[in-house]
């Protein structure tokens, strides 16, 4: 029944909302929650219980009413007690067969004596378990998942504040005000739609009692330093004040400098027979119903009291039209205070030393119609002196459990204070504070003072105040919690945990069966494991356990409160997933050639190029043959590329790699193997010497990031005269290979390609298709070939040039799959595939690349030890008979000898060149002889015979890559190459956000110790601080990245500087081919806080800062100005970052 308007009610009576529940139409108001709207219509049965299908209704009206979950369309388990009512909602109760009022499975309630605790574990095991599991899952369980629900993209956002105050009750409000007065930035979060907490509903029937909270709310709302987020729950506490905030639509990842926890306390139910009947509720639930939703909890109520708050709630009922028939007080005497006196003066009978022994249901309404009282003393009842009182509502006001989940997660140690029967924080970690009920403080004025104290302490922690004013706080003289509000009954149904329908006797049984510690009890009985996670059952369970064991509460201990504090929709947890994807500069070219992409690490690479009417295998084999017979080209841009510069560059390489490099002639290339400390092969590549003090190294695609990082670390540690530049993203690489490679390349360059001028394992620099290139003669695929490294912006132009030039010769692009076959035909290993985390170079035939006569290299000392030991395994080549037609072995299939494992296959492929299966395998050394037969076991156990064969399988004398065959003469192509951007759209506007491609704005970088004098000599003002920038008179900017790297973005200056030779010492130009985006618009910061964890609100633009950070999972350079933000990232991530920002901008709507 709806009450007449009440001051401060949350509902808006001018906006009625129509909705449906279980197919019946109802009407509520805007501001109602689903539960309050149903109760206002006298629909009290809201759901059925989990196990026994008992009718249930409101218990807390505070987000923990798990028996009133509803299904709202495709949304399961909507919490009716806190979900705002919306017009047109079509709601269904959950866990109901039939209707809520006549649930067919209510029969389970009658069977409950046969379903004791642990019943399912004990009964349904063994072979029939899957059958019973299905049956049980059908009858129990909650909402229904709709698998056709569309994917929802929920945004996430980062936010920051100085002080986070969790809880908008009196203590939280005051602590926020105190901090705000100190001048710090405060964020106050409150899970309800309105601030005020119990200060606005625990009124003892007198609206004057709401003044304190009302005044605080007004002051908080007006204060410029306080941001308020209502409908927001702090769901966890993680290290360094990292608190996720759950809202209706998203999770905010909040980073605070200090956290004040003012989360209050959960009111606890009393345990007595039928305490779960509809219209038996917590006293605070009744108060919330009245003052928030103007719904009458009952016409005639009985209040079960264990504290003085029950008396206050009785007064709230009395002043809002409910007749309070009696107060049944568990305590032997009632403390005399104002509430007691007023109750007495109203003539409400008080039964001290009594408990409700049983509540009795009306068979028609299924709600409570009568209670039975008995004299009660410390959990023991005397049913012979029972009395009956008719009523249509029971309020339970017996005590509280502190809402201290977040404090536990923050590492707070608690102590139990017997005076108030509650755990309170004992030792708090730095920067975490607690106040109000969670701190054991209950009186409104004391809570305000406690909030003030916590605020002062937070200010002191933040260094705003030198000394905190001492504010004495007093704990309540009368305990707000009763030590044992539990009443036994021979017929049971006295529920301790309504989530899981656990009765008092279940706890006694569990203990009797030996599950006597709190953690074991929880797991065996499932106490606290339902959707409300024990918020209404854990404290009583601990009290029961203490009672059984005759021990104190602290001796029993508590269970662990883990994140998350409240259930969170999976869509919110998933948020916007960031899965960075790298595209090479040739991505569009591959797409045009119908490439089938494969994800290798972050890289999307062509596995093969699909041909109309041909299968994958055929395409791959044709690509292999094209390279062997004519000419092919492959995009190898994902290879790591590192430039090593300086007078010690050669020595540095010798210390890093196993080979010798200091003596390399300029213009030559050498294979290089990288080991870790234990002598394990971790990477390989080639080293090219471009100049006396300039080396250019490649690494494997997967190792690129790690190798560069490790080399930088070694360089930091060894402090050699050496500078490292990561050119992986800035340079693209194309490998052109095949007998006619020379002819194709000759059409595009004036470089002398004759074998004398450009022999095998040489490196040359020159123009290819008009683009400055580094070209190396290498033979990974075993043909005459060039690996061409060019600035990534020009890669498309060079690729198109090569394709155009080779057209007449049938040039064909080949993918990673064909390359794997080609290199396998040559017996070349792939580190990470043909090696593992224990492989040393001697096991894979790389001894020739290891120079033990050097003074030092990483892994050398371990190899010295390994050399003395017998070898355990050897990588060998093997072949299957050319006429083998059965199932081919696969990688990782085992080599078996005498029933024992004697090795494993690391690579295998069908060689179209040799027309047979070839492969590599690790085998025991005694099986490594050429001609040895190996037995390889397939997945189905069949053994296949293979023969150990010498490698290379193809072109054993390595003629193909060194002997130049006569080349056709192709006409010279003269091309004018234009750079291309990785960003598909130059400029666009989405929801007021303008995204501009600035990738091709001219830019150049420098590294090296003498960069600063070099730039000063050019008349430039160099930023004095790391990570700052200067505007240039010509319109661009000069940025200092970290300590010693510089970047100039400026059309005029870049052109001038590029033309000038660098002659002064250790200054090394860095090729910059970054993808660049500019973001502009009113909602700029809103967009950025969804993709980047920097605190944009605290940026001091006057200092002209720049940030090297991550955005949407990608490393970026960000230069913010008040109007716009420029973002640069590795070119290969450009397309991904652009798409991500576009989708964030779209979702702003």
């Amino acid at each position: 029944m709806r009450l007449p308007p009440i001051v401060g009610e949350w509902i808006d009576r001018t906006t009625p909302l129509a909705f449906e529940f279980a197919g019946k139409p109802y009407q509520g108001y805007a501001g109602d929650c689903i539960t309050s709207a149903l109760l206002a219509n006298d629909q009290w049965i809201l759901g059925r219980s989990f196990k026994y299908h008992r009718p249930r209704s409101v218990l807390s009206l505070a987000n923990h009413d798990i028996n009133t979950l509803v299904q709202w369309g495709d949304r399961p388990n909507v919490r009716a007690d806190v979900t705002p009512l919306q017009a047109g909602m079509q709601l269904q109760p959950v866990n109901v067969w039939g209707s809520v009022s006549a649930d067919l499975l209510g029969v389970l309630d009658w069977l409950s004596p046969f379903l004791p605790v642990g019943f399912y574990y004990k009964t349904f095991h063994g072979k029939l378990f899957p059958f019973w599991e299905r049956v049980i899952r059908t009858i129990t369980g909650l909402g229904r998942v709709d698998f056709t629900t569309p994917h929802i993209r929920t945004p996430k956002a980062y936010d920051f504040c100085d002080v986070l105050v969790i809880g908008g009750g009196i203590a939280g409000l005051q602590s926020a005000l105190t901090c705000a007065e100190g001048g710090v930035d405060v964020l106050l979060v409150e899970e309800n739609p309105h601030l005020g907490g119990s200060g606005l509903y625990d009124l003892a029937g007198d609206q004057a009692n709401a003044e304190l909270a009302r005044d605080l709310v007004q002051r908080v709302k007006r204060h410029g330093n306080i941001r308020v987020l209502t409908d927001t729950v702090a769901i966890a506490y993680y290290a360094d004040h990292w608190v996720p905030l759950l809202q209706k639509e998203r999770i905010i990842k909040l980073r605070a400098k200090s956290v004040i926890v003012a989360t209050g306390a959960y009111e606890q139910p009393a345990v007595f027979r039928n305490n779960d009947l509809p219209k038996v509720m917590l006293s605070s639930a009744a108060q919330r119903l009245i003052y928030r939703y103007a719904v009458s909890p009952a016409q005639q109520a009985v209040v079960l009291a264990g504290n003085q708050f029950a008396y206050r709630s009785a007064l709230d009922l009395h002043h809002n039209g409910t007749v309070v028939e009696a107060i049944v007080d568990l305590r032997p005497t009632v403390p005399e205070d104002e509430a007691t006196n007023r109750v007495r003066s109203l003539g409400i009978p008080i039964f001290t030393g009594h408990a409700i022994y049983e509540a009795i249901a009306d068979l028609q309404t299924l709600c409570v119609k009568e209670v039975v009282l008995c004299p009660w003393r410390e959990g023991a009842v005397d049913p012979r002196r029972a009395k009956r009182i008719r009523c249509d509502g029971v309020l339970m006001g017996v005590g509280y459990a502190p809402a201290n989940n977040l404090l536990y997660q923050a590492g707070v140690s608690m102590r139990y204070v017997p005076q108030i029967e509650q755990y309170v924080p004992h030792v708090l970690p730095a920067g975490v504070f607690a106040c109000g009920r969670v701190n054991g403080v209950y009186d409104p004025e004391e809570k305000r003072k406690d909030g003030d104290r916590a605020g002062e302490e937070a200010l002191m922690y933040l260094g705003i105040k030198a000394n905190a004013t001492h504010i004495p706080i007093s704990l309540p003289a009368v305990s707000p919690s009763h030590p044992y509000p539990i009443t036994p009954h021979p017929k049971g149904k006295n529920f301790v945990d309504c989530d899981e329908d656990l009765q008092l006797k279940d706890y006694f049984n569990a203990v009797q069966e030996g599950f006597s510690s709190v953690e074991l009890l929880k797991r065996y009985s499932t106490n606290g494991m339902g959707p409300s996670q024990g918020k209404h059952s854990n404290m009583n369970a601990i009290r029961i356990l203490a009672h059984i064991h005759q021990r104190s509460i602290p001796e029993i201990g508590t269970t662990t409160a883990r994140p998350l504090v409240q259930p969170v929709p999976l869509s919110h947890l998933a948020g916007r997933g960031f899965q960075p994807e790298r595209h090479t500069a040739l991505h569009r070219q591959h797409q045009q050639l119908s490439a089938q992409f494969t994800l290798m690490g972050d890289w999307l690479r062509p596995a093969y190029y699909a041909q109309e009417g041909k299968g994958q295998e055929q395409c791959i084999q044709e690509e292999v043959l094209a390279v062997r017979q004519g000419v092919g080209l492959i995009d190898v841009s994902s290879l790591g590329k590192i430039e090593i510069l300086g007078s010690s560059a050669g020595q540095f390489l010798e210390r890093v790699y196993t080979g010798k490099f200091a003596n390399m002639k300029i213009g030559t290339v050498r294979y290089a193997v990288l080991l870790d400390k234990a002598g394990t092969v971790i990477d390989d590549g080639v080293v090219a010497r471009l100049a006396e003090e300039h080396f250019y190294c490649t690494t494997t695609s997967s190792g690129a990031g790690n190798v560069y990082r490790e080399l930088v670390r070694l360089n930091t540690m060894w402090r050699m005269d050496c500078t490292l530049v990561n050119a992986t993203g800035a340079r693209s690489a194309i490998n052109i290979a095949g007998k006619q490679a020379v002819a194709v390349l000759r059409a595009l360059t004036d470089m002398d390609l004759s074998p004398e001028a450009f022999p095998y394992l040489a490196v040359r620099q020159g123009l290819i298709a008009g683009v400055p290139a580094i070209a190396m003669r290498v033979g990974f695929v075993g043909e005459w070939g060039y690996e061409i490294h060019i600035p990534a912006d020009y890669a498309e132009a060079v690729w198109q040039g090569l394709m155009e030039a080779g057209k007449a010769l049938g040039i064909r692009a080949f993918g990673v799959e064909a390359q794997r076959v080609l290199r396998l035909e040559k017996g070349h290993i792939i580190v990470g595939q043909d090696t593992d985390g224990l492989t040393h170079p001697y096991q894979v035939g790389l001894q020739w690349a290891v120079k033990m006569d050097k003074p030092f290299f990483v892994g050398q000392r371990s190899l010295q030890i390994i050399q003395k030991q017998p070898q355990t395994q050897q990588l060998v080549g093997f072949t299957l008979s050319p006429d083998y037609t059965g199932t081919a072995p696969q990688e990782c299939h085992l080599v078996i000898q005498d029933g024992e494992i004697a090795g494993r296959v690391t690579s295998i492929a069908y060689s179209p060149t040799l027309q047979q299966y070839i492969g590599l395998a690790f085998v025991s050394p005694h099986l490594a002889e050429i001609g040895q037969k190996l037995a390889i076991r397939l997945s189905d156990g069949v053994l296949v015979t293979a023969t150990v064969s010498p490698t290379p399988f193809y072109d054993r004398e390595n003629q193909a890559q060194q002997l130049c065959t006569p080349q056709p003469d192709l006409p010279k192509l003269s091309l004018t190459c234009q750079p291309t951007s990785p960003i598909p759209v130059p400029e666009q506007e989405i929801n007021g956000m303008r995204i501009t491609d600035i990738s091709l704005e001219p830019k150049i970088g420098w590294k090296g110790q003498d960069s600063i004098p070099y730039l000063l000599n050019r008349g430039l003002t160099v930023p004095t601080q790391p990570n700052t920038w200067q505007a240039l008179p010509t319109g661009g900017l000069l940025a200092r990245l970290g300590l010693g790297e510089f970047l100039v973005c400026d059309a005029v200056l870049v052109e001038t500087l590029q033309g000038m030779a660098v002659s002064e010492g250790r200054v090394y130009p860095v090729l910059r081919q970054d993808a660049g985006l500019q973001l502009k618009g009113d909602r700029l910061w809103e967009v950025l806080c969804q993709v980047c964890s920097l605190n944009w609100r605290s940026i001091n633009f006057n200092a002209r800062p720049l940030f090297l950070t991550t955005m949407a999972g990608v490393n970026v350079l960000v230069i913010p100005t008040p109007e716009a933000v420029k973002i640069w990232c590795d070119r290969s991530y450009g397309s991904y970052l652009y798409q991500t920002l576009v989708s964030v901008c779209h979702d702003l709507a």
């Binding site: 993680y238 400390k677 234990a678 670390r713 030890i865 790391p1026 990570n1027 991550t1110």
Partner: protein, 90 residues
């Protein structure tokens, strides 16, 4: 999420960093015995919880620095550049 302060780039969430292992006092590879070397590589003889010096790298900028961290409590005491350590500025 934990925070870590890079001496150059400032305080950032731990996801921007990777740990490069303990800053070990290198054994002289040629002077030590095989057993001592193997122990250093595989057994990490000092791997008991205590305050240690570790290499950490701020990934977006590839800045390596040293972190003094209690590996028992995960408390961070100090961060500085390696050069500051060897040049006696710590």
């Amino acid at each position: 999420m934990k925070l870590l302060t890079c001496p150059i780039n400032g305080t950032r969430p731990i996801s921007e960093f990777i740990c490069g292992g303990e800053l070990e006092l290198e054994l002289d590879p040629q002077a030590c015995s095989d057993e001592e070397w193997a122990a250093q590589v595989f057994n990490r003889p000092h791997n008991t919880p205590c305050v240690k010096r570790e290499w950490w790298c701020h990934v977006p900028s590839v800045t390596w620095f040293i972190v003094e961290r209690d590996t028992g409590s995960d408390r961070i005491f100090k961060t500085y550049l390696y050069s500051d350590l060897v040049e006696g500025r710590v």
